[in-house]
């Protein structure tokens, strides 16, 4: 990775008594697609607004390309944003909307017109240049908002839940448009969303926030496979979380006793495992196998099938162990055809020891 384009250095944001962002440290690299993810009120939008200069940090420094930005006003930054409400100017037509940023920079009318039209063409809405914004569909307006933000050719683009108002099928299409655009332009995207599927589908790195705290920063795959703590494991969903007491440990493995049964988990390097201590671990739902009879692996529980959720070729099964522990298993439809998975039937939930991921206990 190259030099960081954006640095948040112990940034805190308070609104009166309320602390929206706790001391936050983050580096965003040039050309990176970074997603800030969390539920509403977690501080992700506030963080984005601080980058745009719409909120001033209460403490700490925001640096853009090495320059401290705390006191630089929003209009003097080159950090265009795509808004959740799009915030297109209703009294201007499509082209005039796109030209706005260039006009504020004092570019000549003919030049900015050419540039705006070029960007509209690039986003596939050139034919609507002279239309009223109100006459466009949701997806088309989205593209106008993108063109308006990108026309000044910034190094960074901020996106605040831009797809939340769109229909599901349009979301997928716009995701494609955004990732392609980001790769072609090679500029940094900072993308705020509450949607895990959006963040995981597009971002190089995801920042998971809750209550103003960064819970984990990492590639989508790492966050999914190796959640840093229980919050992330639960937030990401599609995870089975088990908690129990350590019975014994060897050099490579730990044996854990949970209410659902006894399991073996891998022992990380340099970790201590004191017998009797509490330990939590997760197994991603897609790493779980289901068999009709008791398998040979150590980690197996006989569970009752509760329900299934069918999404195309992948099925999520919800199962329950005798002690009440819930299990989720994400399997291919064709694998499921081999076993009887009707509700009420018993299946063995099992997984390889290496697939269990031990959670650090600190925040459990």
């Amino acid at each position: 990775m190259s030099d960081p384009l954006v640095e948040l250095d112990n940034v805190v944001k308070r609104f009166g008594e309320f602390t929206a962002v706790q001391p936050m440290n983050l580096e965003i690299h040039k050309g990176e697609f970074l997603a800030l993810m969390g539920s509403s009120g977690c501080g992700k939008t506030t963080t984005l607004r601080m980058l745009a200069g719409l909120e001033k940090p209460s403490e700490g420094e925001v640096r853009l390309a090495g320059r401290v930005m705390n006191d630089v006003s929003a209009s003097d930054r080159d950090t265009p944003m795509v808004w959740q409400t799009l915030a297109l100017f209703p009294f201007l037509n499509v082209r005039e909307n796109v030209e706005f940023g260039l006009k504020m920079r004092g570019m000549a009318a003919s030049e900015r017109r050419a540039k705006a039209l070029d960007w509209l063409d690039r986003l596939g809405i050139g034919e609507f240049a002279e239309r009223d914004v109100a006459l466009l569909s949701g997806g088309q307006r989205q593209r106008v908002a993108l063109a308006r933000a990108l026309v000044t050719e910034p190094e960074i683009l901020l996106l605040d839940e831009p797809l939340s108002a769109l229909d599901a099928h349009l979301v997928i299409r716009m995701q494609g448009v955004l990732t392609k655009l980001q790769r072609e332009l090679g500029i940094t995207f900072v993308y705020v969303t509450h949607s895990q599927s959006e963040a995981f589908a597009m971002a190089d790195r995801v920042v998971i926030m809750s209550n103003g705290v960064v819970e984990q920063v990492g590639a989508p795959r790492d966050i999914y496979r190796a959640p840093a703590n229980r919050f992330v494991a639960e937030f990401v969903g599609r995870n089975n979380i088990l908690t129990g007491k350590i019975k014994s440990s060897s050099q490579k493995e730990i044996k854990v006793e949970t209410s659902a049964g006894n399991f073996t988990v891998p022992k990380g390097k340099g970790t201590t495992a004191t017998t009797g201590d509490q330990l939590s671990f997760v197994i991603a739902a897609d790493l779980v196998s289901l068999t009709g009879s008791k398998p040979k692996t150590e980690n197996a529980v006989a569970c009752e099938v509760i329900s299934e959720e069918f999404v195309g070729s992948v099925v999520t099964l919800y199962l329950e162990a005798p002690d009440g522990t819930e299990f989720k298993a994400q399997v291919q439809q064709r694998d499921l055809d081999k076993v009887n998975a009707e509700a009420g039937k018993t299946l063995w939930v099992n997984w390889a020891t290496k697939h269990a991921h031990v959670l650090p206990e600190a925040r459990a």
């Binding site: 929003a74 209009s75 808004w83 706005f100 504020m104 000044t152």
Partner: protein, 267 residues
């Protein structure tokens, strides 16, 4: 089913009656302005332009019209400006005692006109500005600003609060944003406010009568004519004033409705 139809018929009749009740006097006055008889009696006499000619040849009426127009236009501009500033401060800022601030800003129309007029007269004579055209303008501005504010506030409430931030984000400073975004957005509201405040000022009698001195406005002249004798000239002037005011109000309405229609087009 029958019942429903009966109710609907009744409601229509009811609305019709109310319109008749409201507009009958005005229409009667319009009709009598073209009637040759001096007294408003039925059967009518013959059709005549006589009363309009009398009005046209009366220099007092022309003076009053000039005063009314000056007052109306100045009042419209001043009160719309003040109304816009108040509405914008409400839209944009949150501050302590904002409720009280807004209540005060909206207060003038709730004060009985005669009391307001007397207070204005007393105040203006004390500070030495009574009996001038500008006294009427000031008094009318006080009365009209709340209307202008209410209209413009309604418009600003329809504005996406991110719109200004979006303009800053694209490099517009505060003043530029005001000029390029807020004013264009509020334009329909501003135009309606101009028309309506002009109409209110043009029609207003009580305050104008108290503070106008020798600078009579149209309504003041009308009163002077009717206190002297019965003169269908008044009907002619009334018809003219009514049409002027209605035109202003209708323009305001059209401006607002066109805008709404334009913005409500399918998403």
């Amino acid at each position: 089913m029958m019942n429903e139809r009966a109710i609907r018929l009744f409601l229509r009749l009811y609305v019709g009656c109310i319109f008749v009740f409201v507009f009958a006097p005005i229409i009667a006055s319009m009709i009598f302005s073209f009637n040759s008889d001096r007294f408003p009696t039925i059967p009518l006499g013959s059709f005549t332009w006589h009363w309009y000619e009398t009005v046209y040849n009366d220099p007092d009426v022309w003076d009053a019209l000039r005063t009314s127009v000056i007052v109306g236009v100045s009042t419209a501009i001043l009160s719309t400006f003040i109304g816009f500033c108040t509405a914008y401060s409400d839209f944009r800022y949150n501050f302590r005692f904002k409720g009280a601030y807004l209540a005060l800003a909206l207060l003038p129309p709730t004060i009985p006109l005669v009391i307001m007029a007397l207070a204005m007269l007393a105040w203006f004579s004390r500070i030495g500005v009574s009996g001038q055209v500008w006294s009427i303008v000031m008094a009318h501005t006080v009365m009209c600003s709340p209307f202008a504010m209410a209209i413009i506030r309604l418009r600003l409430q329809q504005m996406d609060s991110n719109l200004e931030a979006a303009a800053w984000n694209l490099g517009a400073n505060q003043w530029r944003t005001m000029r390029e975004i807020v004013l264009p957005f509020a334009k329909p509201g501003i135009i309606s406010a101009l028309c309506l405040t002009a109409a209110v000022s043009f029609d207003e009698f009580a305050v104008a009568w108290f503070v106008s001195g020798l600078n009579k406005t149209i309504p003041v002249v009308v009163l002077e004519i009717v206190t002297g004798n019965i003169d269908p000239q008044v009907n002619a002037i009334g018809t003219f004033v009514f049409i002027t005011s209605m035109t202003l109000v209708i323009i305001a309405q059209i401006v607002i409705m066109t805008q709404e229609k334009k913005e409500k087009q399918p998403a």
